[in-house]
């Protein structure tokens, strides 16, 4: 079986979740990857969605963040204020799993506008739960497709913080979480430099060159001294992912995974 680039990105990011992690899941690619983790190596991962389900174990991928299947398969369903106050703000979340429209070298993300805020060229959906997930989760995992439009030297708008201006900026803002620990794309994985917090490419997807990553990144991208190759998807990972997506297609009549 040959994996598509989206499947490789989804699978590579799912491996970053550990068994038993409590994960606050964004809809779309993060939700696909988190559920794949739950069905493969991280059976006891606890999935929390901002609409209220805690410990959701959906049989098919949700198309919206409030799908009924999330409620039916959850350990409990609480109100949306409770999710944000008792569970996220109270620091009960190990991993915040997010997507983004734009990202910069310090893993700050934009999901608000392209162009000026008052007169936007493109109005994007906006913040949703992301600003507080990005600031309050113990660590953050980001998944998005790699392109010059997405990986920009300057964001049009900072919706949710990664490392701000870099260095100890998070600490200066009094933020408890460690911030983004990985950004996974269809070309590579980034991790933050321990000092500057700038994103550094630490591994490449199989068959992807440094040049290809550099050409799709809007800043002079740095590579780690030892650059690894991401283990290609296993037969099992691909099978479980495809079966999940097949079930989703049958249940919803449409695929889930990309749009939020």
């Amino acid at each position: 079986m040959k994996a598509t680039t989206t499947e490789r990105m989804t699978i590579a990011s799912s491996r970053r979740l550990k068994d038993g992690d409590v994960c606050f899941v964004g809809i779309g690619l993060p939700s696909t990857a988190a559920n794949l983790a739950r069905l493969t190596h991280a059976r006891n991962v606890v999935l929390i969605y901002e609409s209220g389900p805690i410990g959701a174990k959906p049989r098919v991928l949700p198309l919206s963040v409030g799908d009924g299947d999330l409620a039916e398969t959850a350990d409990t369903v609480v109100s949306t204020p409770e999710i944000f106050r008792y569970w996220l703000q109270a620091r009960r979340i190990d991993v915040g799993f997010l997507g983004a429209a734009q990202i910069d070298r310090f893993a700050n993300i934009n999901t608000t506008v392209i162009g000026p805020y008052e007169t936007p060229k493109t109005r994007l959906p906006g913040a949703g739960g992301a600003p507080e997930i990005a600031s309050s989760a113990k660590r953050v995992l980001i998944i998005l497709r790699h392109s010059l439009r997405a990986f920009v030297s300057k964001l049009d708008f900072v919706t949710s913080i990664g490392f701000g201006e870099g260095g100890d900026h998070r600490a200066r803002l009094g933020l408890p979480g460690a911030g983004p620990q990985a950004v996974v794309t269809d070309l590579c994985s980034f991790e933050p430099d321990p000092e500057s917090r700038e994103l550094v490419v630490t591994s490449l997807q199989e068959g992807v060159t440094r040049e290809k990553v550099a050409a799709a990144t809007g800043w002079p991208v740095r590579f780690a001294q030892t650059l690894n190759t991401i283990e290609p998807p296993s037969e099992k990972e691909l099978t479980v992912l495809r079966e999940l997506q097949q079930r989703t297609m049958i249940a919803h009549g449409v695929a889930a995974g990309d749009a939020s």
Partner: protein, 285 residues
């Protein structure tokens, strides 16, 4: 005490031009029937509040009912953009739309503060986000006990909250379950409230901890079967995902949007007419 009345009467009596109106329901139980009635009655200059504007506010905005929008995530869930919302923000069509933009946590807290009769909510949030630069309602506050800097947002006190729920009894006590969102908080924060329900029953048969809004905090209850369509009502019907996808094409141009609204909303007398039309379309597909 809640009056059990027709939705048409409830909207006429309780929603006025210029009101601040919160219609909540987090993907689940979205009060579409009430929104269609507001459009038919051509209410104007509304300040619309909703965490996720969704297709329901795309329709109200496109039909010119809104002057202002307070929101935190404005997309078509699982599909992409809300084209009428974008056209209003990007091009001022059908007229300029003022926006006040928050995060979900900010609005959820603002509803809780409103329901609690507090002037503002205190939270940890918006750190490093540029939302605060553009929204003067996101401010810093110092904890009087520890000196810690926190965030304050003003409470939401809508003139009217409108929600959809599964059941009410004949006294107007309302029961909802599944994804609860912020509906209870929205109703308790508002001066007046309208609840549409799938059915009115003699006995709610609810467990002691069920989410219930006592009839005496609700202004009006209207029975509107399938009144959350195309969203869903847990235990009654599923989400019409195909409609959400179709909305992308319907709403993409002003012409096709207006033609659809004319035929499906303005051209029918109530929500049952809309549902009949949708059913006929479904058969054709």
């Amino acid at each position: 005490m809640a009056e059990l009345i027709l939705l048409r009467e409830a909207i006429r009596n309780l929603v006025h031009d210029g009101d601040t109106v919160a219609m909540e329901g987090f993907t689940h139980l979205i009060p579409f029937a009430a929104a269609h009635e507001i459009i038919r009655q051509q209410k104007k200059d509304l300040t619309l509040v909703r965490m996720t504007p969704d297709v329901i506010y795309d329709q109200l905005i496109g039909m010119g009912c809104a002057r202002r929008l307070i929101f935190s995530w404005g997309g078509n869930p699982g599909v992409g953009s809300l084209h009428r919302f974008r056209d209003a923000v990007e091009n001022g069509w059908p007229h300029k739309l003022e926006i006040e933009e928050h995060s979900h946590a900010g609005l959820a807290n603002a509803y809780v503060a409103g329901a609690s009769n507090l002037p503002f909510a205190v939270m940890r949030g918006y750190a490093g986000s540029e939302l605060a630069k553009h929204n003067p309602n996101i401010r810093n506050i110092i904890c009087p006990f520890t000196g810690e800097q926190l965030i304050a947002v003003p409470s939401l006190r809508p003139d009217v909250a409108i929600i959809h729920a599964q059941k009410a009894d004949r006294k107007g006590n309302v029961l909802l379950w599944g994804i609860l969102g912020v509906q209870k908080e929205a109703v308790l924060a508002a001066r007046r409230s309208i609840v549409t329900v799938e059915e009115v029953v003699d006995d709610l048969q609810a467990s002691p901890n069920a989410c219930i809004l006592p009839g005496w905090v609700v202004s009006a209850v209207s029975e509107v079967p399938r009144g959350a369509t195309p969203s869903y009502a847990h235990g009654y019907y599923g989400r019409d995902n195909r409609f959400y996808r179709m909305w992308d094409a319907i709403s993409r141009s002003r012409e096709s949007f207006l033609a659809w609204m004319q035929a499906q909303v303005l051209g029918v007398s109530d929500f049952s007419g809309y549902l009949r039309n949708q059913m006929a379309e479904e058969v054709k597909r």
